[in-house]
């Protein structure tokens, strides 16, 4: 066994996508880490930034095209309104299993001590400013800064 008996001390979770299923996966993993006594930090890059963008985070969708697990013909998935309908249905199911919405989930993560970082390069690319982001975001970091945050024994990185 390696140092620390292989214990996970910290999870560094990078979210690069804004489809609802990916955002939730990242949030559940970050929250789940804290609930187990593991530190967690998140880095929002490229489209993942939408999950912390004030005006966009309430309007994330699941993908009905290019997602074979939807069991929906690609042509149908691309019709107007289908993605919104599928998203609506999924949100109803999530509420039923007591899954918070994106904004409430961010508040839970922030209160739980999960650090929320926005990627500087992606911020510049999309012309976003810090004021555009959810108020609980801890800061805007370069990739180098983010790696520094993850230094130490027992850190694991995850790219979503």
């Amino acid at each position: 066994m390696n140092e620390n008996n292989g214990d996970i001390k910290k999870m560094m979770i990078i979210l690069s996508k804004a489809t609802l299923e990916n955002v939730y996966a990242a949030f559940v993993l970050a929250n789940g880490a804290r609930m187990e006594g593991i530190e967690a930090e998140m880095f929002f890059t490229f489209f993942g930034l939408e999950a912390i963008h004030k005006e966009k985070l309430e309007h994330l969708h699941i993908a009905t095209v290019g997602n074979p697990a939807m069991h929906m013909p690609t042509l149908l998935g691309g019709l107007p309104g289908v993605e919104a309908l599928a998203t609506h249905m999924m949100k109803k199911e999530m509420e039923r299993i007591d899954m918070p919405d994106v904004h409430e989930f961010l508040e839970i993560l922030s209160a739980s001590g999960v650090k929320l970082w926005a990627c500087k390069l992606a911020m510049d690319m999309f012309h976003y400013k810090k004021e555009d982001l959810y108020e609980g975001v801890d800061g805007v970091l370069t990739v180098g800064d983010f790696y520094k945050q993850g230094s130490g024994v027992g850190t694991h990185m995850l790219f979503i």
């Binding site: 929250n31 609930m35 006594g37 007591d98 839970i108 209160a111």
Partner: protein
């Protein structure tokens, strides 16, 4: 399995959670808290009593429910039980390990 604590023998599972809530009392709770390095104060007990009430009413526990409990907010919950708060608090409260992923 048997566990000797606070001068009595109680039954716990392999992770140390009480298997029979009837065996719980405040002295056992305090001793379990010491094992988890938690120094119990009035606010800790408020949370423990809340968890036990929810358990008796068969309400599944999650961090979201804690946040909406009106007893404690999530930030304070982590301050009171810094490491794995819901698991640690459930163990001290003598109730089963929470099964929720959230």
């Amino acid at each position: 399995m048997d566990k000797n604590i606070a001068g009595v023998t109680i039954q716990v599972n392999e992770e140390g959670y009480l298997t029979n809530f009837q065996q719980w009392n405040k002295e056992i709770g305090t001793a379990l808290a010491q094992e988890a390095n938690v120094d119990m104060g009035a606010r800790h007990w408020d949370v423990i009593i809340y968890l036990q009430t929810e358990f008796k009413n068969d309400v599944p526990l999650s961090i979201r429910k804690i946040g909406k409990s009106g007893v404690v907010d999530i930030k304070e919950f982590y301050q009171l039980f810094p490491i794995a708060p819901l698991k640690t608090a459930s163990k001290i409260a003598g109730i089963p390990k929470p099964a929720s992923c959230i």
